[in-house]
Point group: C2
Chain length 130, copies 2
C-alpha cells in the first residue's frame, strides 16, 4: 500500500493545506514546475487543473510527475513524492475545485473555466525527504 | 539581456531569500524536484549543490531546469523560471555555501561535504507567472 511509502514523521506535509510544487516533463524533455493545491486521501494525491494549459499536454504525453512540499515552519524539512497521473477525471461543474479551495480556506464559487476542469489522480510511488 | 525576461512586478521573488523548487529531468525522462536556496545577480541564478547526489547526475545529462517560487505572503502569486545550468563551478572550501546560508539568515560553517560542493550557474531564458 502506498501509505507505507510515506516516511515516518512526514505525513503531515501531505495532510496540511500547504502549497506544493508539481513538476512535469515537456514534450521536448525539459522540466516544468509550478505551485499547486492538492489533497491526499491516504493513497492518491489529487490536483485540480484544466485541459487548456501546457501542463495538461505534458502529462498526456508523459504521466510521470514529481511533487515537492516543504514545511514553511521548518524550511529544511521537505518531502518529494514521485508518481504518475493514473486518472484524469472530468470536473465539469467545478465541484472538486470548490472543495479544494475550501481546504485552503477560500470560499470560492465554481471557476469560469469549469467546463475544462479536471482532477489529476496521482499515484505515490517513491519519496525522498530531508 | 535576461533581466528583461523577468515580468514587471515579480522581480522581488528572485531578490527575497525565499525557498524555490528546482526541477530537473532524470536520465529516464521523469521529473525530479526539491526545494533549494538560491541567489540572483540580475542575470543568472546560483544554487549550491554537491556532485554526489541524483540531481547532479540529472543536470550533467540534461542541463535544462525549471524553478518555481511562490510568494508565502500571497500564495497565488508565483514565478516559474526556465533555463539551463550553463556552468558548474567548484566550491571546494564551501565559501559560496556559507555566503548563501548567510542570505537565508543562517550563520553556518563550511559544510562537511565541502570537497564535493559546486555552484550551479543557471541562465534565465523564459518565465511564466500568475
Amino acid at each position: 500500500v502506498s501509505t507505507d511509502i510515506i516516511p515516518d514523521g512526514y505525513r503531515d506535509l501531505l495532510e496540511r493545506p500547504l502549497f506544493g510544487h508539481l513538476a512535469t516533463t515537456r514534450p521536448d524533455g525539459s522540466p516544468q514546475v509550478n505551485p499547486m493545491w492538492f489533497v491526499f486521501d491516504g493513497t492518491h494525491l489529487r490536483f485540480t487543473h484544466t485541459t487548456r494549459r501546457a501542463k495538461h499536454r505534458n502529462i498526456t504525453a508523459d504521466p510521470r510527475v514529481a511533487f515537492s512540499i516543504h514545511d514553511p515552519d521548518q524550511p529544511y524539512r521537505y518531502l518529494e513524492v514521485r508518481g504518475k497521473v493514473v486518472e484524469v477525471v472530468p470536473d465539469p461543474e467545478g465541484e472538486f475545485f470548490v472543495s479544494l479551495a475550501k481546504r485552503y480556506g477560500e470560499d470560492w464559487p465554481a471557476p469560469p473555466d469549469k467546463a475544462d476542469r479536471v482532477v489529476y489522480v496521482v499515484s505515490v510511488e517513491k519519496t525522498s525527504k530531508q
